[in-house]
């Protein structure tokens, strides 16, 4: 390939500059896809296009978006609304990709919402926005008002029969709100407890009505798919998973940041070329490929393409695609203690294994780091990784918490044992 790869999601984003306003966005080709969608395509044609594009959810689980949309019941709905909800809660530690899209090109988000709502025949849309994302709140609110004044939102959009009301909902901070069923509960003004599935939200969601919840980055791809086509989108990726991905790197790298790259970009390229490699004089100890709830990878995994399918054999996941890198001077026990502190604190408390198990793992890790650990603590930690695994808790929070722990106990076994044997943290200098 000779030409520089396309980056549809971030093409309008100039670091350090304010985002395009409505006129600027239109001049850059914005809202063209919306016109095309409303004038030339039926909702089911758009769902088909998104299905053909092989767009997979960028919220972390990689669920095919077209398939998700196809579960929404069609036909007469007795005048009751269906809902589209943008998951802009972004609270996964080490993740900063949705903020980039929201702050960098708010009109792209708005256009994406309108087209996606049309595709599933939703008449009301909510952006469920993290409470701390104040700049995004301001920019999105302004963009939505401008779009409404221009006839892109509200009743009879562009003189079509389609109408959409869009609301920006700002949350008040709890990681659980990002889990899609807990998000619906939170949006109804309650404690963010998850719901049993089935029924799935596409059928019984917000106030019992059909609802689709999609991640910010997922939806931002939709206008481009509508405009350029499914085949174009698939060809953007370097592997079987189509499109581009906003990857990022933070932690002990030379140049932390976020970059839109072809889906399937190898981990090594992200780490070494884009993030500039590990800080001078240090080596890689381990990294989390896509947020706190993904299993650790080490130097032996650097050639893996970062996409949903290729990550499976590593035992980890693509997750959010923003890597968190720890160098060889990082104490792995302390690192895991930090991670499990987050998960224990953010547990919603609904089911016992998670509510009681996560604080237990945090305490054990703390004891081991502080030199008070016993060898049998390692067995208790391993027991947790089994008892809090997928299917054993009400939602995916606890299994997410166990991903770094289970992999960490294997990769860092010697480090754990050394802490226990020497009754101190070998990484801490004597005071």
């Amino acid at each position: 390939m000779s030409s520089t790869p396309e980056r549809p999601l971030t093409r309008n984003i100039r670091p350090g500059e304010p985002p395009l306003d409505l006129v600027g966005y239109e001049r850059a080709g914005g809202y063209r896809a919306l016109r095309r969608a409303l004038r030339e395509l039926t909702p089911s044609q758009i769902v088909q296009q998104v299905t053909d594009s092989n767009l997979r959810g960028r919220g972390g689980a990689g669920f095919p978006t077209g398939k998700k949309w196809s579960f929404v019941p069609h036909g007469a709905d007795g005048g009751l609304p269906k809902y589209l909800i943008v998951n802009a809660d972004e609270m996964e530690p080490g993740t900063f990709k949705d903020r980039l899209l929201l702050e960098g090109d708010p009109h792209q988000m708005i256009e994406a919402i309108i087209i996606s709502a049309y595709a599933i025949s939703a008449s009301v849309a909510y952006i469920f926005l993290r409470g701390e994302y104040l700049r995004a709140t301001e920019l999105l609110t302004r963009a939505a008002h401008a779009a409404e004044a221009r006839g892109y939102l509200g009743a009879h959009i562009l003189d079509s029969p389609f109408s959409l009301a869009l609301h920006v909902h700002t949350s008040a901070g709890r990681y659980m709100c990002g889990e899609e069923t807990a998000l619906l509960t939170a949006l109804e003004g309650k404690r963010a407890l998850p719901r049993y599935k089935p029924p799935f939200p596409q059928v019984v969601g917000l106030w019992g009505r059909p609802s689709v919840v999609n991640n910010v980055e997922t939806l931002c791809n939709v206008p481009h798919i509508v405009e350029r086509g499914a085949a174009w989108f698939r060809a953007l990726g370097r592997t079987q998973d189509g499109g581009t991905k906003i990857y990022g790197a933070s932690g002990h790298v030379r140049r932390p940041g976020a970059w839109e790259l072809p889906m399937g970009t190898p981990l090594r390229e992200l780490l070494e070329e884009h993030a500039g490699g590990i800080r001078a004089g240090r080596a890689l100890r381990a990294l989390l490929p896509g947020g706190a709830s993904t299993a650790f990878l080490t130097a032996e995994h650097l050639d893996v393409p970062l996409d949903f399918s290729s990550m499976e054999p590593t035992g980890s996941r693509l997750g959010t695609g923003t890597i968190t890198v720890a160098d060889d001077r990082t104490c792995p026990v302390a690192l895991l203690r930090n991670l499990e502190h987050f998960f224990a604190q953010e547990s919603c408390g609904w089911c016992t294994p998670c509510r009681d198990g996560l604080p237990w793992t945090e305490r054990l890790l703390g004891a081991i780091e502080d030199g008070d650990g016993e060898m049998q603590d390692l067995e208790i930690l391993e027991m947790h990784t089994r008892f809090l695994d997928s299917g054993k808790t009400f939602c995916a929070h606890a299994p997410g918490a166990m991903a770094p722990l289970a992999s960490g106990l294997k990769i860092f076994r010697d480090d754990f044992e050394r802490h226990i044997r020497e009754r101190r943290c070998p990484w801490k200098r004597a005071a």
Binding site: H169, A172, N338
Partner: protein
Amino acid sequence: MSTGDSAAMLAGAAQAAPAAAPSAPLAPELTAAIAQLVGQYDDKRAACIEALKLVQRQYRWVDDARLGALARLLDMSIAELDGVATFYNLIYRRPVGRHVILLCDSVSCWLCGADQLRARLEQRLGVEVGQTTADDRFTLLPIVCLGHCDHAPALMVDEALHGDVDAAGVDRLLEAYP
């Protein structure tokens, strides 16, 4: 107590509010703003989280009297609304200082020196995380990842986000908040 409450407790929620709660009802313009919020949802109570934030923006924290007034306004029981208020990290059910510092304690910031930053802040302010300075100027609270990990360590002071904060930077930063 469930661990689910620990975050809220750090935000000053689990304990009952002190007795000095003013019994003034919500300011009229606040009531109007809340009514507007209600219009965005199919159910009144769905506005409660944003309404709690509006109350807090005006009065810094949510005391019992105002919580009660808001519950009546939204046709919720006080217990229900308090259950919501104590669940969320950014709703304060205990008094906070004039400025709230939210210090990220998640993984990328931890890797990039958040512990040293916390120590510096605690030393400069003379409080520990979770406390308010004696002069009521600052409350220091932990927060999870602020989505600013490429500029770790990160923190927020009131509504402003700050990244790449080192010890010297912290000193300068605090001076900007009288």
